[in-house]
Assembly symmetry: C2
Homo-oligomer: 427 residues x 2
Amino acid sequence: MNRFARRDSAYLPENFYNIKSDLPEIPAPPLHPGTREPLQPQDLAPLFPQSFIDHETTMERFVPIPRKVLDALSIYRPTPLVYASGLKKRLDTPAHIFYKYEGAGPTGSHKSNTAITQAYLAAEEGVTSLTTETGAGQWGAALSQAGSMFGIDVRVFMVRISYRQKPGRRILMEMFGGKVDESPSPLTDSGRRFYEKDPDHPGSLGIAISEAVELAAKDPDVKYALGSVLDSVMLHQTVIGQEAEAQMRELGMEPDVVVGCVGGGSNFAGLAFPFVRRNLTQRAGIRFIAVEPEVCPTLTDGERRYDHGDSVGLTPLLHMHTLGMDFIPPPIHAGGLRYHGMAPLVSHLTGMGIVQPRAFSQDRIFRDARLFLQAEGILPAPESAHAVAAVVDEAEKAKAENRETVILFNLSGHGFLDINAYAQNGA
Amino acid sequence: MNRFARRDSAYLPENFYNIKSDLPEIPAPPLHPGTREPLQPQDLAPLFPQSFIDHETTMERFVPIPRKVLDALSIYRPTPLVYASGLKKRLDTPAHIFYKYEGAGPTGSHKSNTAITQAYLAAEEGVTSLTTETGAGQWGAALSQAGSMFGIDVRVFMVRISYRQKPGRRILMEMFGGKVDESPSPLTDSGRRFYEKDPDHPGSLGIAISEAVELAAKDPDVKYALGSVLDSVMLHQTVIGQEAEAQMRELGMEPDVVVGCVGGGSNFAGLAFPFVRRNLTQRAGIRFIAVEPEVCPTLTDGERRYDHGDSVGLTPLLHMHTLGMDFIPPPIHAGGLRYHGMAPLVSHLTGMGIVQPRAFSQDRIFRDARLFLQAEGILPAPESAHAVAAVVDEAEKAKAENRETVILFNLSGHGFLDINAYAQNGA
């Protein structure tokens, strides 16, 4: 029996889409942090389940979604594709604006797409304990929920500034049985480097990754899960874009522009990659806009080079846009975007000129989040509000040019658990 | 163009269902608070738009849903009907448990169904200002959102204890442009009666109703909106049960038991009434369980008699179960259930023996909410958690009897903005 009676499951794909299969040239490989030689799949075995490593390294175009993952995804998928008629009216624009509402998921963001997949793959291999980092807590909540679903203990290092700004997400993780510590913590060598100098250190995703990786590397009974950056995570998120393709096709619409916010890149990639495929294989000419905070300008102001994914140097070297592993972003409310690096695949597409980055200030994104709330009735997470800001710009450009531009963006999560941030910023 | 590309709109009905048309005997009429004579429709004209009064008094079986209301409802409707396989597994029960997830709406509860309808009807008659009460803030948020959608100013009297417990819902109302005051307030004669004796008076829905009604009665430019109790509000909420009927039909399932929490009765009625129709017209034999807090036991321990809908005596006398207009419920977290009365239609069906009431303690409902979160991934609002508790009992009974009982319940709202309540109660 279907969990969801009402769902038209025709929109939910049966495979993840692997963009590497369609790239003329694949990104430079990750390097081993010790030898700086190209990483071999077995190098990842201490940290990740084998089937996850297979997802990371496969060159198949379509990777079957396991039946039990499909069942679990169908709790909330397909997610709504909404025609933003309220926003269109407020902006008085000829543009047609669509958004995919990933906040409809159980923990309120797109992160469940890969959390459920990773927890299932781990459980199938007998893993009983996963550790991870989280910024604003969307990923930590999603993994805690998925762990609860598949009988896996989850331990989360939550970036301190978000831990303090967003107690609701911590409570949610704990209600799912997740164990949550502030990062940097005194519990790991990585954490102590920062904690001992400043017990109130605001933390960063890079530091929290170091702590979680260290824990998993030291304990053979613990595996590590990552909520973004990796090729496999982008792969899992392509359910978003594949659904959106099917949903838009039914309306006879094609996007001219696809927009998403980027921290590590996963929600953007999830929506964009199935559409990037059209540019790669059909010369579709769709524009792709990746939106980041002005104060953490990885794509707009970072260098593209090899760097560690964490702040201590425990992870492989990834070829990506980076602000440097030492970069500690200011404590903005979009905790999920406070990352020094970027997914190698998103960096690669940016290098190819397919993805265009944009950056916005916190004041601007809070303003546009409020506009969106009033127009559409949904409170965006501060991360997702970055996408909204770029959409507003595109809609205004369409108005200036009097063009019916079709804009598609990812509303990657709701902001119910960020509501204090809005109150503090005069919303 | 549809706002929602993906929705199978076949589930969303085109009419509200009016249970009065199928009752062998209709409830005793409301009485004028001054004359104690049966209320005439025109007596309501100072408070409500005419088309709303028509909804209140009609005896037609099906009342067409206006096209613009259907468009607005289709932002989030049909809501999911979920097969609770996770809960079934945790309870190890042969019962089949389904829930309608009304938390998928923009402000997180079923209240938008009637808020959007009421705001639309008001706007069509040129109303530019509405006032109302709210307990936990679900209704106030829904009306603020609907007001923002149709260009109506909304002023909300929020019960003080909830105002203090749930700042997130207040912030949400304000972001939609709603103006929110704590009740009892010093702003009305009704509020001052309580405020002057105790400025920290926890308040009640009854007092907040008095304040809002008083404001609307004194100012011809302001109309009043009510989120529960009235026949018309039950009517608007029947979109829930009609969708559930269609969704279950597709699965070839029929409910044996239908469950909902009750404060004023609207989410329960919305789900139940289309199924009650089967008992009335086809002798279907479905059981209906209305669940309330032990400390506000309107149906389980109240009297059925005429009483005012508010605490001061400004509203018509309604024939209903009541704990007395002076009853001030203890400050439980399920603020939406802190009401001394009950919808006359729900009271009537309880009197007929069709609806069976149950009551649970706050400890019990928090326990079952946590169980539900872990099993299904959704955090229920404390109100909705009352329904969960009754479902757990029914599922355990089905296990004891080894029967595949089909249970359908209303998960009327999510608890993201109640998360501090869960934290304070050791969740």
